[in-house]
């Protein structure tokens, strides 16, 4: 039971960080286009 809940907690934590990494990556790519493709 405690394994399950710790596994679920890890999944939720990882999920939140995945979202953060994607947002940062898309912002970086957007910045690359905006800064250098003008």
């Amino acid at each position: 039971m405690s394994d399950d809940s710790s596994g679920s907690r890890r999944f939720r934590r990882t999920l939140a960080s995945v979202m953060l990494v994607q947002i940062v990556t898309l912002c970086a790519l957007w910045l690359l286009q905006w800064r250098y493709s003008a």
Partner: protein, 567 residues
């Protein structure tokens, strides 16, 4: 290539085979061979999932695409993180929790044997052919670059991978994948740093030069069903493609079925969600930087050395004239690129804008001569003249320092081996579990299945190598098979989605699957310009809609479907 580079390549191949075989402990029974006794940690499974989908085509084709077309290809992967999250909370708990060996076995438990057999058969046909093309793409490039025969090139890539996959099963595949991913990422980072050092202007100036030719244009927000590389195609079509690939393709599913628990399985998928877009952006950036590098260094007129030799021999005067024009244009472009960097260093915006205009005109001149040379190569060789796959290998061999070139070539071979080892392992699993054990020898002992599984891995390995060797001549057949593959990829996803709808029935799933493939076929022939990314959406949605209607008791569709399924 320098002997030290060869030593690195041969040393890595030997290490991979030895490591794979050493990791075969515990594979003396079927659960160990196909699922590593569900003992693999999430991070190893995650890296293995990433490695399986990162083939040699990524290392040489995608980087080449970055050089010729820029960064926009990365939009193709925008749906991947979303797909991973959806799979983590839907299909993964279903599949891992049901204790199956294959994704298709789950379909028999939920629906019936014919739905399982049809989906498994479609998987075998498409994966067996694609396994051949995965070997053939780098083999053709190696053959042209190093002058080897195609058979020898195929053997260098295929034999080590078949050997350790056959002996070690999923355990060997996963642990070798982990090591090879480390090699691949090291090579990508090392080449990026080397390029930044080799380019004679600042990184900022280099990016401005790349941006001037549109190669840093990442986002395209136009909505087009015919353009694969737009934001919306990537997010919507890409999500469905990735759901199909990671959720229903045995080559991916088998990896996370070997994880210790459901949470470890879905955490492993999130590794791809984390790193796929940044890694793919970095791979494309290598191509963009190679393009900038060749602004200051004379690039070959034709990157494919085999074509170059043949054209020079068959049309010496015409090729000589093109080369003279090319050299003059490249020298002028070099001067224009340096003028851009100087103007930017002086901080004069007006001067920089004017220099940029001159540079763009010179770049257009170089492109014109290249287009003429490629058309000439096509006439002389009778083969497609796109030499995008040869840009990076030529750069690596001509300009990378000794040692690093060997590292990159080893990484390309590693990427090819990762992709085929995962596929061979899954082809063997589907053949043995979904057909041999299901229909031929259900009661045989475990040792017998293990022996048959190893034989099946060897058989599919030899089959893939034969396809790869003759892929040049089988070109149109492979295209037909790939096109056929796109007919059912989304449709199979639709069947799995249907499996999660409690009211759906076996007849609905089978009729829905046929309807989904027919709908994609109709779109493919009726509107061939629609991008294949949308085929997955059409297939999946059709299966769910038709399958639900047919499953509804008392509906006209239901009565019709049941009659059709009875034949």
């Amino acid at each position: 290539m320098h002997p030290l580079n060869w030593a690195i390549v041969i040393g890595w191949l030997a290490y991979v085979v030895i490591h794979g075989i050493r990791r075969s402990a515990g594979t003396s029974e079927l659960a160990g061979y196909f699922q590593a006794n569900r003992s693999l940690p999430w991070w190893a499974v995650g890296l293995s999932v990433m490695a399986t989908q990162l083939s040699a085509v990524t290392m040489i084709g995608t980087t080449g695409q970055g050089a010729t077309d820029g960064m926009r290809f990365v939009q193709f992967y925008f749906g991947l993180p979303l797909a991973m999250v959806i799979l983590g909370v839907t299909l993964v708990p279903f599949l891992h929790g049901s204790g199956v060996y294959t994704a298709y076995e789950f379909l028999e438990r939920r629906f019936d044997a014919k739905t399982r057999s049809l989906t498994a058969f479609l998987f075998l046909v498409s994966r067996a052919m694609s396994c051949g093309t995965i070997i053939s793409a780098p083999a053709v490039v190696f053959s042209a670059i190093f002058g080897w025969s195609i058979g020898w090139s195929v053997a260098i890539i295929g034999v080590p991978a078949v050997l350790y996959t056959m002996i070690g099963g999923v355990q060997a595949v996963t642990w070798v994948d982990v090591k090879q991913m480390i090699l691949i990422v090291t090579a990508i980072v090392a080449v990026t740093i080397t390029l930044l050092v080799q380019i004679p202007v600042s990184p900022s100036d280099a990016l401005h030069i790349a941006g001037a030719t549109g190669r840093l244009r990442v986002f395209d927000f136009s909505f087009s069903l015919t353009n694969t590389y737009t934001f919306w195609s990537g997010v919507i079509g890409g999500t469905f493609l990735m759901l199909s690939y990671f959720g229903t393709d045995q080559s991916q599913v088998q990896r996370y079925l070997a994880a210790k628990s459901v949470d470890e399985a879905r955490s492993s998928l999130l590794i791809s969600a984390y790193w796929k877009i940044p890694l793919q952006a970095m791979v494309l950036l290598i191509g963009v930087l190679v393009f900038v590098f060749y602004q200051f260094e004379r690039p070959p007129l034709l990157f494919n050395p085999a074509h170059e030799r043949l054209v020079r021999k068959e049309q010496p005067a015409l090729y000589g004239e093109l080369e003279s024009r090319y050299t003059a244009d490249v020298v002028a472009r070099d001067a224009a690129a340096r003028a851009v960097a100087r103007a930017r260093d002086r901080g004069s915006d007006a001067e920089a804008a004017s220099a940029m205009q001159v540079y763009r005109a010179q770049q257009a001149g170089v492109d014109t001569v290249r287009t003429e040379a490629l058309a000439l190569a096509q006439r002389v060789t009778g083969q497609p003249s796109r030499d995008v796959n040869y840009i990076i290998p030529r750069y690596v061999l001509d300009h990378l320092p000794i040692g690093l070139a060997g590292l990159f070539i080893a990484a390309v071979i590693a990427a090819a081996m990762n992709a085929i080892s995962g596929e061979l392992n899954s082809l063997s699993t589907a053949s043995v579990i979904d057909f041999y054990r299901r229909w031929v020898r259900p009661e045989a002992p475990d040792q017998h299945f293990l022996m048959v599984s190893r034989a099946a891995t060897g058989f599919w390995g030899i089959f893939a190598c034969i396809i790869a060797t003759y892929a040049v001549n089988l070109g149109s057949l492979i295209e037909v098979v790939n096109r056929f593959g796109s007919f059912f990829y989304g449709s199979i996803l639709g069947v799995f989605l249907l499996a999660m709808i409690p009211m759906s029935r076996a007849t609905g799933a089978f009729v829905g699957l046929l309807a989904g493939m027919a709908a994609v076929g109709a779109v493919n022939f009726g509107a061939p310009s629609v991008s294949f990314l949308w085929h997955n959406v059409i297939g999946a949605v059709t299966v769910v809609v038709v399958g639900t209607i047919v499953s509804t008791p008392g509906s006209i569709g239901g009565a019709f479907g049941r009659a059709a399924a009875r034949g």
